[in-house]
């Protein structure tokens, strides 16, 4: 088996987390290698330029891995939820909607609030400066000043056009006395960082223009410029560990050649999706699982969609799909019969 030279940091998975980690760590001067089991998704690969894009995004370009049949995918057996993932450079940002709300201060303190989940080891205030950095790196849009959130820096670009659908919903929320605010999105409203601003096409299921921050267009170029090495079609099959139990690198199969190699690393970062990460840890002699919780209690991003019918044309096929957010019900109110809250996005 061929051995690659040891690197400082090995990142497994070139999606959103892996891309950001690679960019930041490589820029800091570390020798970074990233393994990605899928390939690059070129802009012309996307269905956006075809007239059957609506059908394609329900099938071959569905965010749900079980609705596609792509060679980069692996099926996930589940009866409880859709499994949103994309195996390729940029990961799920190839097919996501890029809504970009932050966690709230109370989200980090659920242990104190009700004890049904632990507190985070960090607070919102500790994380906030990094939110700001990430927004600048990724390119976001939005409007500072939401009274339902802590103060924040202005977004790198201003809010996206307020669609007729959002206007209508805002009017309704005003009538109800509910909160609403222009939503933050990882979509640039004007040219930024070499990428064109959103053109309002309404196909918010990934974006080959890069107006929506597709990380292969927005973050990976920075990581590569900073010196990170990215190996597409390299499937990590097992993380090896030393006598001290710490990770020493990963055994990888090149999906094009079938060659098995070992990439040694001082530090291994597993960034392979909520399904792929525990899968790899469990396949690596139960690595990092002294708690016996790896692979248990998976909580997907819970999303409930509603359709609203109104008595006037609102041209909901135009513009960014989520230009309004309501945080009216974001904090816990036990009179609702449950803990925690939810956000409404339209």
């Amino acid at each position: 088996m061929k051995n690659h030279d040891e690197c400082d940091v090995l990142i497994i998975g070139a999606g959103a987390t892996g891309a950001l980690a690679a960019a930041v760590l490589a820029k800091a001067g570390l020798d970074v290698v990233c393994l990605e089991q899928g390939g690059w998704v070129e802009p012309n690969d996307h269905p956006h330029y075809r007239s059957d894009w609506t059908w394609q995004r329900r099938t071959n370009w569905s965010p749900d891995v079980n609705k596609r049949q792509r060679p980069d995918d692996y099926p996930v057996e589940t009866n409880s939820s859709q499994v949103l993932m994309w195996n390729g450079v940029g990961g799920s940002t190839n097919v996501y909607g890029a809504i970009w709300p932050r966690y709230r201060p109370s989200d980090f303190r659920k242990g104190d609030e009700h004890g049904l989940q632990p507190n985070w080891p960090i607070s919102y205030e500790e994380l906030a400066p990094f939110y700001e950095q990430a927004d600048r790196l990724i390119g976001t849009s939005g409007l500072a000043g939401d009274p339902a959130m802590p103060p924040r820096d202005p977004c790198p670009t201003g809010p996206l056009p307020f669609t007729k659908a959002a206007e209508r919903l805002a009017m309704t929320f005003d009538h109800l006395g509910w909160h609403w605010w222009p939503a933050e999105a990882a979509v640039i409203s004007e040219n930024y960082d070499g990428r064109p601003g959103c053109n309002g096409c309404g196909i918010c299921n990934g974006c080959p223009r890069g107006s929506m921050s597709k990380f292969s267009l927005s973050v990976w170029p920075k990581a590569l410029t900073a010196g990170a090495t990215l190996r597409p079609y390299a499937r990590a099959v097992r993380i090896e560990k030393g006598r001290d139990g710490r990770a020493t690198g990963a055994v990888t199969i090149d999906r094009n050649t079938g060659e098995t190699t070992f990439q040694a690393a001082r530090i291994v970062v597993v960034a392979a999706n909520g399904v792929g990460t525990p899968r790899l840890l469990l396949a690596s002699d139960n690595l990092a699982n002294s708690s016996d919780q790896v692979g248990r209690n998976l909580l997907h991003h819970t999303l409930v969609a509603l359709e609203m019918w109104v008595d006037e044309p609102i041209e909901s096929h135009m513009g960014y799909v989520d230009s309004l957010i309501s945080r009216q019900f974001a904090e816990t109110d036990v009179s609702r019969g449950f803990v925690n809250g939810f956000r409404s996005i339209a």
Binding site: E113, M149, F162, N199, E315, H317, R327
Partner: protein, 185 residues
């Protein structure tokens, strides 16, 4: 011989010809999207052809005899039936095969609104509608703070230092589960 084909349907086993099978699907589409004086009927713009190809690609050749059997069981073929009877066939089909019906309905609607002639009708009615909007996008007015910035002053958050325990004693958390969207999904 035909039954060994992997990607081509064979409806002969249920005693129906390909031509009749095609007509059954087209008639179903016609009931779903009949058209009127301005909207072209779905069968005229060929929706059934797109639905047939997508049925094959998504569900395989086995879906064809299953669909035809279901339509015949629901009262098809549609030949000679008046409109209420045609609708009745589709309603029975929907009741008896709700999942298959839902898939076909969605596939038909999507294929219809992908059609250039239908797109032309939508635009003629004064609604800008591009079949391939990503190429140039839609011209939308920029966000105007004077008009669009909220001035309602509503909204609150709980700062970190003000997070307090809530009383969960009245919540039946052990038994209160979302059944339809959780345990039974």
């Amino acid at each position: 011989m035909a039954s060994e084909l992997e990607t081509t349907p064979d409806v002969g086993d249920i005693g129906i010809t390909p031509a009749a099978s095609c007509a059954l699907l087209a008639d179903l589409i016609d009931v779903l999207l009949p058209g009127d004086e301005s909207w072209p009927p779905a069968r005229v713009v060929g929706v059934q052809a797109f639905v047939a190809v997508r049925l094959l690609e998504e569900r395989g050749k086995e879906a064809f005899p299953r669909l035809m059997t279901a339509l015949l069981h629901a009262g098809g073929p549609f030949d000679g039936l008046d409109e209420p009877a045609r609708i009745g066939v589709v309603e029975r089909f929907e009741r008896e095969e709700p999942e298959m019906f839902g898939w076909l309905r969605d596939a038909a609607y999507i294929a219809y609104y992908e059609n250039p002639f239908v797109g032309e009708v939508i635009n003629a009615k004064g609604h800008r509608y591009e079949l391939r909007p990503h190429a140039k996008g839609y011209p939308l007015p920029r966000f105007d703070p004077a008009c669009h910035k909220p001035r309602h002053g509503r909204g609150r958050y709980t700062p970190t230092e003000q997070v307090r325990p809530v009383d969960t004693s009245k919540l039946d958390l052990e038994n209160n589960r979302t059944r339809r969207w959780g345990l039974e999904r």
